[in-house]
């Protein structure tokens, strides 16, 4: 589903060159919930930016959903982001002039859905993230946890092949973090949503299928998560 080979991202030139990513190869299957971890400055965000087509690698190739995204031009990348990718930022990154509902509405509208379809999928997805009653509020009138749930709804509204989240819980307390993570788990389980999420917190590990640990721009280890996948599917668990 995702195949990255020898991805490199260098900033600057010569002596001051920063090798944010220094040869990362990875493969992610459909339906996986991946955690990307590692110390600060290890290149986690840089990797996620590449996967989210927000940045281009200095070298290396990247296949998402069978498409070699390296050859796409700027316009095609924008369309790709709109239709196949959902991105959740650490600071929510909602459009402040739009209400929760309108923020979610926007990508589906841009995709060319009719207003009826938009309204339908929006209220659906806002229901999924658990924001039934506050949908007409502006971001400034909502808590961080609520804003992040709106951002997740926005990322999901076009049913992306891949959901990317860069420290989505960094600005939230434990209780709200848990709400978000449980939501991710539910999406992953119920909809087979592929998710790649960057995290710092040890206790998040229990949610991931697989953990990619990074250091100095390379993958240090890949381990299976602590997650007991049976407990999710087992009604008695």
């Amino acid at each position: 589903m995702i195949i990255g080979s020898d991805l490199r991202r260098y900033y600057g030139l010569g002596a001051v060159q920063v090798r944010a990513l220094d040869g990362v190869s990875l493969e992610i299957q459909k339906g996986e919930f991946i955690g990307v971890m590692g110390p600060s400055g290890s290149g986690k965000s840089t990797l996620l930016h590449l996967l989210g087509l927000l940045d281009r690698p200095t070298s290396g190739s990247l296949l998402i959903d069978g498409v070699d995204v390296g050859v796409l031009d700027e316009r095609a990348r924008t369309v790709f982001r709109l239709r196949r990718l959902g991105y959740v930022f650490q600071d929510y990154a909602l459009v402040p002039e739009l209400t929760a509902q309108e923020n979610v509405y926007l990508p589906s509208m841009a995709r060319g859905m009719t207003p009826q379809e938009c309204t339908l999928v929006c209220s659906d997805i806002l229901g999924v993230v658990g924001l039934g009653d506050r949908i007409h509020h502006l971001p400034s009138q909502m808590s961080g946890g609520e804003q992040q749930r709106v951002a997740i709804a926005r990322a999901l509204v076009n049913r992306p092949a891949l959901l990317l989240a860069d420290e989505p819980c960094a600005n939230l307390d434990t209780r709200n973090s848990k709400v978000i993570l449980d939501l991710f788990r539910k999406l992953n389980h119920d909809l087979h949503q592929t998710i790649v999420m960057v995290s710092h917190e040890e206790w998040h590990k229990s949610y991931f299928d697989r953990i990619i640990s990074m250091k100095d721009g390379v993958i240090e280890t890949e381990t299976n998560g602590n997650r007991d996948s049976d407990s999710m599917g087992n009604p008695s668990g």
Binding site: H49, R83, L94, V95, A110, N158
Partner: protein, 400 residues
């Protein structure tokens, strides 16, 4: 394409509804004022042109002016020519006249105006001078020892009030000495003083054609023959008609006779107007540019987010174009409102030019031209800043 516009329109609508209202109102007001400025001055200039043209026709030339054939001083067989032209359909009056320089003396004041020699009855059918007698009476056909002069030429007791060399405040009934350029001097009683708002008429003097002919020993001639036609505006056609009826003398239209004078005035006005228009449009460009630019810079992060979630750059640019269009549209409507108000005020208290009150001429062409140029300016001034700001790399924009 249509989807894009829908999204852009949606973003623009929200931006206007939830953005800073004060700035928006101010911008719209400025655009409204620019619109007024684009229309008002040209409409006044057109009004002045219309006024001057009417003046020229009513007080100086009628519609057509017939002058002697090449190398001749006089139109010969003037009576016969006059009768012939009078019979042409569409002609409502023909007035033969002589023009000469003369020296008029009254109580030591000496002036050298133009002296027109006319047939008063014919003159009334072509020009409107007879209706502008300020005191006394206009000439009659049989008058011989009478003269009519313009009020500027009559002048004032207080010389400082005079605009041109004058006779020092001569009144109706007083007698002046007139020396013609053949050396003959005769005495004339002032029969009337004209105040017509026409500079030409108010600075000169009039006697009868019969009197002039007796001074110079002429008969059945004229220097000019003025022709009044039923309609104004089809002078070229009437000239052809006259020629078709066998008029061999030179025929001028009033426009040709007054071309220099009028073109100079309208020319200078148009330069002023051109500068005013450019300045207005530059103001419009700068204001809209700054407003949109501040808008986009202020929303740098938001633009980055929009691009990140898959909104195309062209859609974002289009949303700012819609905002510029909105400012333009409302500004123009407000401007129209102001304009109607100003025109109504002007109708109640007209601007009075030498020559009479000026009625501003607002024609569809002028409105169309102003609206179109303002539209173009708005689109350009909206496009450029949006283009510049949306060029920025997504990650840089999102980091803020």
């Amino acid at each position: 394409m249509f989807e894009d516009s829908k999204v852009a329109f949606f973003l623009a609508k929200r931006s206007i509804a939830r953005g800073n209202k004060g700035t928006l109102y101010l911008t719209i007001l400025i655009i409204g004022m620019v619109f007024v400025n684009l229309i008002f001055l040209p409409s006044i200039i057109s009004g002045v042109a219309v006024l001057f043209n009417q003046q020229t026709i009513d007080y100086s030339y009628g519609n057509l002016v017939i002058e002697p054939k090449k190398n001749q001083v006089y139109i010969n067989n003037a009576d016969e020519l006059q009768r012939k032209i009078e019979r042409i359909p569409g002609v409502t009056g023909v007035s033969p006249r002589y023009l000469t320089g003369a020296t008029i003396v009254y109580k030591g004041n000496e002036v050298t105006p133009l002296l027109y020699a006319i047939n008063p009855d014919d003159d009334r059918r072509v020009l409107k001078i007879a209706s502008k007698v300020a005191s006394g009476e206009y000439l009659g056909d049989g008058d011989t020892d009478q003269i009519v002069i313009g009020f500027r030429l009559a002048g004032n007791d207080d010389e400082k009030l005079d605009v041109i060399p004058s006779l020092g405040g001569v009144d109706v009934g007083k007698v002046v000495d007139v020396t013609f350029n053949n050396g003959v001097t005769r005495q004339y009683r002032i029969k009337g003083i004209i105040n017509s708002d026409s500079y030409d008429v108010d600075s000169n003097a009039f006697i009868t054609k019969n009197e002039y002919e007796s001074v110079f020993g002429l008969e059945d001639k004229a220097n000019q023959m003025l022709v009044r036609t039923q309609e104004t505006g089809n002078e070229d056609m009437m000239r052809n008609t006259l020629m078709a009826f066998g008029v061999q003398e030179k025929i001028w239209t009033w426009e040709e006779k007054s071309a220099n004078f009028l073109n100079q005035i309208i020319g200078s006005f148009n330069i002023i107007n051109f500068i005013g228009t450019i300045v207005s449009l530059v103001i419009a460009i700068v204001v809209i540019f700054i407003v949109i630019f501040i808008n986009t810079v202020y929303r740098r992060k938001q633009i980055g987010i929009l691009k990140a979630i898959g909104i195309d750059r062209s859609v974002i640019i289009k949303s700012y174009l819609f905002q510029a269009l909105f400012i333009f549209a409302i500004g123009t409507i407000i401007g129209c409102g102001f304009l109607v108000l100003i025109l109504q005020l002007l109708a109640a208290n007209p601007i009075v030019f030498p020559g009479g009150p000026v009625a501003p001429v607002v024609d569809a062409m002028l409105i169309l031209r102003s609206t179109m140029s303002l539209l173009a300016v708005s689109l350009i001034a909206g496009y450029i800043p949006a283009w510049i700001t949306t060029r920025e790399d997504i990650l840089t924009a999102i980091r803020g």
